[in-house]
Structures are given as C-alpha cells and as structure tokens.
Amino acid sequence: MQIPLLQINQLQTHFHIGKRVVKAVDGISISVNPGETMALVGESGSGKSVTAMSIMRLLPEAITKTQGEILFEGRDMLKMSMEEIRDIRGKHISMIFQEPMTSLNPAYTIGEQISEAVRVHSNVDKKTAWNKAVEMLELVGIPAAVQRAKEYPHQMSGGMRQRVMIAISLVCNPRLLLADEPTTALDVTIQAQILDLIIKLAKEFNTALIMITHDLGVVAEIAQNMAVMYAGRIVEQGRVADVFANPHHPYTVGLMDSIPRLDGGKKQRLHTIEGVVPDLSALPMGCTFADRCEYAKEKCREEFPAVRVLANARQVACHYPLGGIES
C-alpha cells in the first residue's frame, strides 16, 4: 500500500453569505497516489471546483469555513500558515483553470509570466528563468517558442493560451496538478490535443493529476480513479474500470446514460436527468439526489445514506445501490 500524495478526509467547505450557509462541499474524502490520475466528475454546482480551490486555499477566507483534513504528503494543509501555503502553491501543487482567455495577465508577455512562476519559488536570475520559460513553451508544443515568448496573451488563441497555462503550472515540476475543466472553454478540435498534452506531460513529469470534468468520455480515457460528486458530496468513487463496468449509484448511471454510445441502438435517445441540483443552502434532510432519482423510496427522503465501502476501494452513498453489491 502506497502512502497517498494527497488525502482528503471529511472536507467541508461552507460559505457564509449573510445568514445563509452554502454547503458547497459537504464531507468528501478522496485520496490520490503519486503519479496517479483521479477524475472528479459532476455537473455544474456539484462542488468540484470548490474542492480544488479548497486544496489550494484560494477561497476568500472571510466567508469560507473549511473543516476536515487535507493531507498533502502527510501534512494538513488546512492547518498551515499562509507562508507555507504560498510555498506549496505552484511549486508542489499547481492549478490549470477553466478559462484560458482570462487566466493570463494581459499586461505581461507569456514568457514573463512563465518565468515569474520560476522566480517566485527559486532564486534564479531573469535570464535563466526566461530560458526555462522558452524551454517549457517548446515542451507544450508552441512553435517558434523564442519569438512567441515575447508575445502578449491577446496575440494568442485560446488553445495556445491553455498551453501556456500548462507550461506555467508545470514549470516548477509540481507533484500534483489540479486541472479544473481545462478543455471546457476550447474548441472541440483543440480539446483532445490539450487533454493529450496534459496527460503526456503529467506522465513525463511524474505529476499526480486531479482532473475536474463533467465529461465521462475524458474520464474513461485518462483516469485510474474517479469520484462522482453531487451537491457537495461524493456519491460514488472507485477505480474507473470498476465504476464504468458496474455503476452503483443511480446518479452515476444517469450520467453514463446521458452520453451517446457507439454500441447503442439506432433510435436510442439520449437520457436526461430531470430537475436541477438542489439549493446548497437548503439541502434536503434525506439523500440530496432523491428528488431526481427514479428509484427513490421513502427512506431516501428521510435519511441521508452513509458511505458504504466496498471491495477495491469502491465507495457508494446510496440506500438502494444498483447493480448488485458484493460487500
């Protein structure tokens, strides 16, 4: 058994907005081993991004209340001082954002922005950092890197900018990379390229990856483990192969049915999950998915289902899991 690189235990991230308490993340536990890829899946508002921001401690402290443990290499990041956190950010854990169009500073050349990431964490001179930046640009597949390093973000396309973001995030050779829907804002044709690039470089740099996505196709392709989030909780997690072969939670099943399949019947229509994610500041007392679940029974509305741990580190939070459980 490996010691996990990142272990999150019962993480709760609640936002206190006026008198309302928004439970964006409500007691999740995941662990990521060095060099592994974990996919965090769920629809908008399920708490995927907030989880990533909680790990990086990037949420506004004044309104955020975080509980639980985020153990990075055994040390609890929630108990660290801001100085220790800054030392980890970018150097040991870095992040790629969803919006490549706005995640680069318009006032600096991309070369300057990559070198900055180097210079924040090590005492190298400008020249060395710049050379490192150019080297990274070549690595992420930007042609004529020497010239392009001198360009500003507005002179580049979305795909190019996301490549630059990848260069920034990997330039310090971090042990963990958080990718928050890195391909959502890109053209479909570019998405695969960027995804391949992230996977390839993560492997090359031996970086563990938490890929946040709502695209199950992506998950199947790249991840070893997956966690399905719904309304701030993890409803199902396990090895990707296991979950895909035999999903237990009705929500996971719903997600899988809502993507087109090549082997499906001719006239098979895509499945949709009726309804929306519940209001996170007024969660129902029972299962949060009960209102949208076609299998929901009385018990589901009254009692919150505890997480059941199954074989192969498989977990599911459902009173009436599907697909037969051998526990």
Binding site: K91, S103, C172
Partner: protein, 300 residues
Amino acid sequence: MEANIEVKKQIKANGHVHVDKVKGPFAEFVERFMKSRSAVIGLGILIVLICCAVFAPILAPYNPYESNLPIALQAPSAEHILGVDELGRDIFSRILYGAQVSLVVGVEAVTLALFFGILLGALAGFYGGKVDTAIMGVMDVMLSFPSILLALAFMTVLGRGIDKAVIAIGIVSIPQYARIVRGSVLSVKENVYVTAARAIGNNDRRLIFVHILPNVLAPIIVRSTIGISEAILEAAALGFLGLGVMPPTAEWGTMLGAGRQTIFNAPHIVTFPGLAITLTVMAFNLLGDGLRDVLDPRLK
C-alpha cells in the same frame, strides 16, 4: 481588447518598448493617439507651455522681477507685448516664468496625491472589509469638504510657499485617486489571472503591485492628467487669495490677485495671467479627454 492598452501602459511604465514583427502595442497606442484630435491638440499646447517654462530665461525679454515704476500699468505695446504690471514688471516675462511654477505645482501635487491615493485605494480595494471601511471612511470625510476650503485649512496650518501649496493641494486630492484606484482594483481582482497568480505562490504585495495595478493604469492616467489641471487651478486660487506662492515669485494666481485692484484702469494685468491659466487647464483637459478615448477598451 483591454489587454492591449494595459500592455501599452505597462510598456510606458517600464520604459522599454516591445518591438513586434506585426505591430507592437506601443506603436498601436501611438497610432490611436494620433487619431484623437483632442489628445493631439492638448499635447501640442502642452509642449509649447513646457518649452516656455523650460526656456523662460532665454525667451523672456525682461527680468520678471525687475520693477520699473515710471511705466507701471502701461498697456501692451511694442516693447512690452503684454503690457506691464502695477510695479512696472513685464507681464509676458512673468507669465513665462509663471509657467514653471504652475506646471511644477500641478505635477508635484498630483504625484503626491497619486502616491498615497494608489496605495490607499489599492489596499482598500484588495483587502475589502474593515480595511476598506476605515480607509474609505476617511476619504469620504475629506471629500465632503470643498477641496479649496480644505486646501486653505492646510495652508493656514503649514504656512505659505510653493512647497506648502503642493503639499496642501496634494493631500486634498488624495481621495479622488484612492476612489478610482479602489474601484478599478475591485473589478480587476476578480479576474482569473489574479487567482492564477495567487495559485503560483505570489504574496499579496506582488499580487497588488505586479498583477493588479498595471491593469488599472488606464483610468489612473486619464484621471491624473485632468487632475494636473485641477491642481494648477487650485494653486492659482490659493495664489489669488494671497495664501499660495510668496508675492515676488511670478505665479499666475498671485499675478491675478495683485492685478485685481487695478482691473478697471489696467485690465491687461489680470487678463493675460487669466488666459494663461485657462490655456493650460484646457490643454490638460483636452489631453485627458483624448487619452480617455484612446485608452478606453470599449471604443476600440
């Protein structure tokens, strides 16, 4: 879009010009600037004024401090193209020397106000909460007085003189810059690139000064250009009230004040310094308006 201008401002601030194969941001800024009529006119007048101030010792036909009582109050003539004042000093020469005082007072006062305004505004906008309430509370109190009244109050405490006038006018205009900077910082800090900069391990100081401030330069530049004209006007008002620059020094406001007793029999004594003030203020306002057009991303 916005990127473009910020980039240009940044380049200006850094003093290095990025040469691009296609068209550098700085070249684009110059091109847009040249298309703005008011900016070009404003800058043109300003260059003339600055030349007058710098080369006053060469350009001035007479010593601005040498009085010649026999010809006092004489109207404009071939020898004294703008006439002479109540002590027989050449008004044209005094206006040239006065340009030095006015421009220096304007620029220095705005620099002082900018320094504290940017610092306070950035802190208030970046940290929000109690810091914001405290800083902006003080700023609002200062804004609730007419600025000339507040400047007068400072002058009575500090005493007379150019330096004191600069300090008084500078302090009085801090809130205006603090407000603009705070507002811009509030909107810029929400950008993903600020979060991204935080995510690579930057501390607050670098976030504010390296990542946020270069992106709020456009409104600050526009405001300070117009601010210089306001500072010049305020300095002139203080001079007129006899609280600004000490009398023998050639200063436009003081000249106006001295000439007001003889306004009916020698109107030229107040007319020309008045025109000089108007022209200068107009030049800065034109430049400021033009810059606003040039720097406004929505007009691109």
